[in-house]
């Protein structure tokens, strides 16, 4: 009763309760990203839908090693049983069709937000972004598809840093991402829309950070999951044990397919940091290519 009386007195005195009990009303340290989100496909449609063409590395800051890795990659690699259930790594998974559910994990006593949880329907992935200031694991800890993420709010933006990501790809045509890669992300909410910006750094296969963005819209959703009960099977009968489909150096039969289809020089199709920038178009024009 004493508490009620005190509250009543405070209210009558015209003092905002919110100010008096700061923290109790601090529902989220920054913007609230909770809800169901669906991707908006108004950019990079081919890559995010059917998938990129083979030997299209244009506009990606890849190393020569990454280029050679990808030129050796045969898409039949995905028929190897252990590859059939491989998941898109965190830096790539937001590119595809997915339902993204985000909710806050709170300490039951203090009600402080300690983590942001994400359920990503593609491959049934769960992701935790720790917001309680905990350190990243030591370098001998296992890696996962989603990696280990910590975040902090910067005004209306959530910034996330991720380490311990498994080896994966930066594009679904074989361009590799190493297990030394790290990811910085910004989640920015604009009302019912959310922009996700990712900055990938890979000391093994990228010469410069790879920056991408994609947009989401808040949707009412119940269910609509993309279940992914993947089970390894033998897709190619009679294949020898341990066979790994690949092209020997200089033998990729699709080397000129993308470049020829769009009438661009092969060197442009083979990518590299230079091909990311507008100046590269001018360079090609001057060279008469």
């Amino acid at each position: 009763m004493k508490t009620l009386l005190s509250l009543s007195l405070l209210a009558l005195a015209g003092v905002p309760l919110r100010a008096q009990f700061a923290g109790s009303f601090n529902a989220s340290p920054g913007v609230d990203l909770s809800g169901n989100w669906a991707p908006l496909f108004h950019e990079d449609g081919l890559e995010r839908g059917a998938g990129p063409e083979l030997v299209n590395y244009l506009g990606l800051p890849i190393t020569d090693g990454a280029r050679q890795w990808a030129l050796a990659w045969d898409s039949s690699r995905l028929t190897v049983p252990e590859h059939e259930c491989q998941v898109h790594v965190a830096p790539y998974i937001y590119r595809g069709p997915l339902n993204l559910h985000i909710w806050e994990e709170r300490d039951p006593k203090s009600q402080r937000v300690i983590a942001l949880k994400q359920y990503i329907s593609t491959y049934e992935q769960n992701r935790t972004i720790w917001l309680d200031g905990r350190p990243h694991p030591p370098d001998i800890a296992p890696h996962t598809w989603m990696g280990f993420s910590t975040g902090q709010y910067d005004g209306e933006m959530l910034t996330v840093h991720t380490t311990h990501i498994k080896q994966g790809w930066i594009r679904r045509n074989g361009l590799p991402e190493s297990d030394a890669a790290t990811l910085t992300e910004h989640f920015i909410r604009h009302g019912n829309y959310m922009t996700h910006v990712s900055i990938l750094t890979d000391p093994v296969y990228l010469t410069e950070p790879l920056v991408k963005s994609q947009d989401f819209i808040n949707v009412v959703q119940n269910g609509a999951n993309w279940l992914y009960p993947c089970e390894e099977v033998e897709e190619i009968a009679g294949r020898p044990r341990g066979a790994v489909p690949h092209y020997l150096p200089g033998k990729n039969p699709f080397l000129n397919e993308f470049a020829g289809k769009y009438g661009i020089p092969l060197e442009a199709a083979l990518g590299g940091a230079e091909t990311m920038y507008p100046e590269y178009q001018q360079k090609l024009k001057k060279a008469g290519k």
Partner: protein, 320 residues
């Protein structure tokens, strides 16, 4: 294998340094739980796996000589029960250099006619390994042994290709992998904890070091990697499930072994094709057949370096 570990291994191999004094001050260990009853100790040369339970302590590999004091201190933080078994994945001194010191810190508890423990008899812990490990660490009577007798395996009895042990309420299997990293490699499989220790058949820090002079070879290496993949079972979408402790580097699951198997197989196929084209070893080296993997795996040393790996693959494939 990281650079400091490689340097230490090179030093140990060059000097047969099995009886070095403890260099505890220079050793920085990392200890982490892996799964079930199994932990990893990294930083003592090769990775060390430790299984603890109500019966006592079992370790897989013993690290470099000179690291045993801090290793034993970390083991004692995990359990004060008697250290009863040392299992060796192979004979290299970054995995067996600590055998003697760790064995001395342990006990053999026996039954039958000698019920009790044999501490008073200074027997120490038992050391289990494949016979080829003992062969590499010892020497015929009258000749100089490369390692002290106290470091030698005490039990090399394998039934066909494996040795079974039940300890701390857990079945443990050592499974011999012939002609892989060496001729005496064993996988150690903790079947209840669901953890597999691979020795240097699988590492995350370099190309495989194929010790061709001591029975290692590329086809045995690939076979062994495929055997690891057969044993491991991922929990969901190639993640988790069976955890893998490599000879050097971080804790893994099946996926990392798959990518490593792919790399080793692809390089084997490239060298095989070059040999078929009539190329010499020097010509094959000039082709830089590992350049897509060098930034990740080339240790630039004689242990797990690109040149060493290509040379070992070439020699394996052309060996008569």
């Amino acid at each position: 294998m990281n650079r400091p570990a490689l340097t230490l291994l090179a030093l140990a191999l060059a000097t047969a340094a099995f009886a070095q004094p403890n260099q505890a001050a220079n050793v920085k260990l990392q200890v982490m739980p892996v799964q079930g009853n199994v932990y990893i100790i990294a930083g003592a040369g090769g990775n060390i796996a430790v299984q603890v339970g109500p019966e006592g302590v079992l370790v897989v590999d013993a690290g470099l000589a000179g690291t045993s004091d801090p290793v034993l201190a970390e083991i004692r933080k995990l359990s004060d029960k008697p250290l009863q078994y040392v299992l060796n994945t192979h004979f290299h001194p970054d995995h067996t250099g600590g055998n003697e010191a760790i064995r001395k810190a342990g006990v053999t508890i026996t039954g039958a006619n000698v019920t009790g423990n044999l501490t008073d008899a200074a027997v120490g812990a038992q050391i289990l390994a494949h016979l080829n490990v003992l062969n590499r660490m010892s020497a015929p009577t009258g000749t100089q042994s490369p390692t002290p007798t106290g470091a030698w395996p005490t039990d090399t009895e394998f039934i066909r290709d494996h040795k079974d042990l039940f300890f701390n309420d857990e079945p443990i299997q050592m499974v011999h992998q012939p002609a892989a990293h060496t001729d005496g490699d064993s996988l150690v499989w903790f079947r209840r904890s669901d953890v597999l220790v691979t020795g240097d058949i699988f590492v995350t820090t370099s190309y495989p070091f194929l010790d061709v002079e001591r029975g290692g070879g590329i086809q045995g290496e690939i076979d062994a990697l495929n055997n690891i993949i057969d044993i491991t079972v991922p929990r969901h979408e190639e993640e988790g499930g069976t955890y893998v402790i490599p000879g050097h580097g971080r804790i893994c699951d099946e996926w990392e072994v798959v990518e490593y198997r792919d790399m080793v197989t692809i390089v084997r196929d490239r060298v095989q094709a070059a040999i078929k084209d009539g190329k010499t070893l020097a010509q094959v080296k000039e082709d830089h057949l590992t350049r897509d993997y060098d930034a990740r795996y080339d240790s630039k040393t004689g242990f797990g370096g690109a040149n060493q790996f290509i040379e070992a693959v070439y020699k394996s494939l052309t060996r008569k």
